[in-house]
Symmetry: C2
Amino acid sequence: MTSKQRAARQGNATIFDVAEQAGVSIKTVSRVVNNEPNVRESTRDKVLEAVERLRYLPNVAARSLSGRRSRVLGLVYGSPDEFSYMKDVLDGALSACEERDYSLLLRPLTLPNAELVEQVERFITQARVEGVVLPAPMGDLPDLQRLLRRLETPFAAITPKVATAGQVTILCEEQAASCSLTEFLIERGHRAIGFIKGDPDHGATAKRFAGYRQALAKHGIRYRGRLVRQGYFNFDSGKAAAAELLNLPQMPTAIVASNDDMAAGTLLAARQRGLAIPEDLSVAGFDDAPLASRLWPPLTTVRQPIREMAKTAAGLLMDRLNGNATEPPVVPFACEIVVRESTT
Amino acid sequence: MTSKQRAARQGNATIFDVAEQAGVSIKTVSRVVNNEPNVRESTRDKVLEAVERLRYLPNVAARSLSGRRSRVLGLVYGSPDEFSYMKDVLDGALSACEERDYSLLLRPLTLPNAELVEQVERFITQARVEGVVLPAPMGDLPDLQRLLRRLETPFAAITPKVATAGQVTILCEEQAASCSLTEFLIERGHRAIGFIKGDPDHGATAKRFAGYRQALAKHGIRYRGRLVRQGYFNFDSGKAAAAELLNLPQMPTAIVASNDDMAAGTLLAARQRGLAIPEDLSVAGFDDAPLASRLWPPLTTVRQPIREMAKTAAGLLMDRLNGNATEPPVVPFACEIVVRESTT
DNA sequence: CTGAAAGCGCTTACAG
DNA sequence: CTGAAAGCGCTTACAG
């Protein structure tokens, strides 16, 4: 049986089959397949042709075993009900991995979690995960940081509170966007603007809040702590926080929620008090989740390029793993305000 | 250097280290680790103890290469904006894989897709995916079916139109649930009940529609085709279909949408015509997505145990791959009606 | 109930 | 620019 027949029958040719077809050694095939230098052009062509003909795909297990590296990235995340943020992270990370022939393995976690370290260690060790992508707030958990350092596993943190030296950090201009959003409301005449903060564990929380204060200061509006409430990036916390703001003797005329899910909660709280949106109250969110355009009225919000951020995070992480990058520059991504009907 | 020191330093002991510690051969260690029979109890204990002490975790690459099987399952899915259904599928599949030490690899696809076969073939071949989980409508694509048959890759289809002999099929009682939901409206006095169908490629579509008709028939209400519109399981299609229904000379007093995202579109269309929900129009959906409880008014809908269905799908698939199951029984999962404020 | 040998399909380290 | 040899860490197939 020829190698071609064998390949056709089994559905997978090996490096030996390709080498035989091309009349070279397996080492040369390996060089070509891995884009290594020092192969004569004509040799490369012969190999490529054989690869094509036999529909050769390197066996990832063999590669992983012999190369002592898995070409596997991990994505460690909390798993919120409103999953749209994570969906974008997932899409972006997957897309980057596909481009570089890496696999992406997922490790959802419930937080807080006493067994976090144990679970992640098992995850990383068993699959020989080379590096992990950490969407917020994973990039800021001290236990996790310590574990990754111990396992010598590089990571890419998406919008962490603080950048870790030597690790990939992806940021976006959240403070500027939050400032612009608040200013947008100020320019429309709002003076009493409520603000619902996000989960204190997330890096975004402080930045979005800082943008709010910055806008107030810029326009000479006195900051009032009672217009600010703590939320946790989920619907119920937004609803509860909004209810408090709407019970204030001097109700705000606008509320900025630190994400869309909390803005949805704000809409519901307003509704339960019989308020018309935006006539009685303007509401704005953050994220531009699908939810934002499905609510009534559709939400004014801030669009972050989450998918691109995640793709870049995973891409830079793989670059680093392959020695193609030193300390990568931390270029913050730009955000964009999306004006819809929930504000006036 | 002892094996223990080596393991401590590298962070991964091998089967040789465990064998040495336990004073047995690597084959015996392999037997214990894989829960194979024919190991003396005392021997098993010795091995287990060594495994524990060295924190031994089998190298998945070596296992995969030598065993000619990857312990990898694939999840092939379309990637809708409103991702909550897929989130539950993902959670369920991941959970099943974790229990059995399988990895789950994702392959999102945009549909329709001319390169579908090529992309999935590459996906399956390269990672040596043993079996794939196919959420609707993936289980019904003829090209995909043919490919999987050619690659001899078993699959588990979640709510396909038709069950494929020899493959895992997971169903839920959609027709019954749709019938109950429609009856619920009829019992409240509704007679002109609109219906928005889902994507014709999904198995759920015909069943949910059949349940609607069944309820009408049961209560002696004449079926009127003009009260039925085609949708595609997304917001915009639901909005457009609802707008048509609301433009009818004889507007329906209730609309059942075949999923929550289309019900959200229905709410928006109603709003744009100044209709009060549920006073002027009752609206119901399907899925009980997070969206359903974030809308105003919160949606009456049908909850499917999607996570459990996906977990069962992946579990039965792995059983089959490991020869632990012949033709598994097709037990349809039960659905549950969730009554909220969008209906009266 | 247990083990010695071969081999899975690659990459690494080395030689020329 | 190219290749022969060894080895990654397991499982398979076989023997006892």
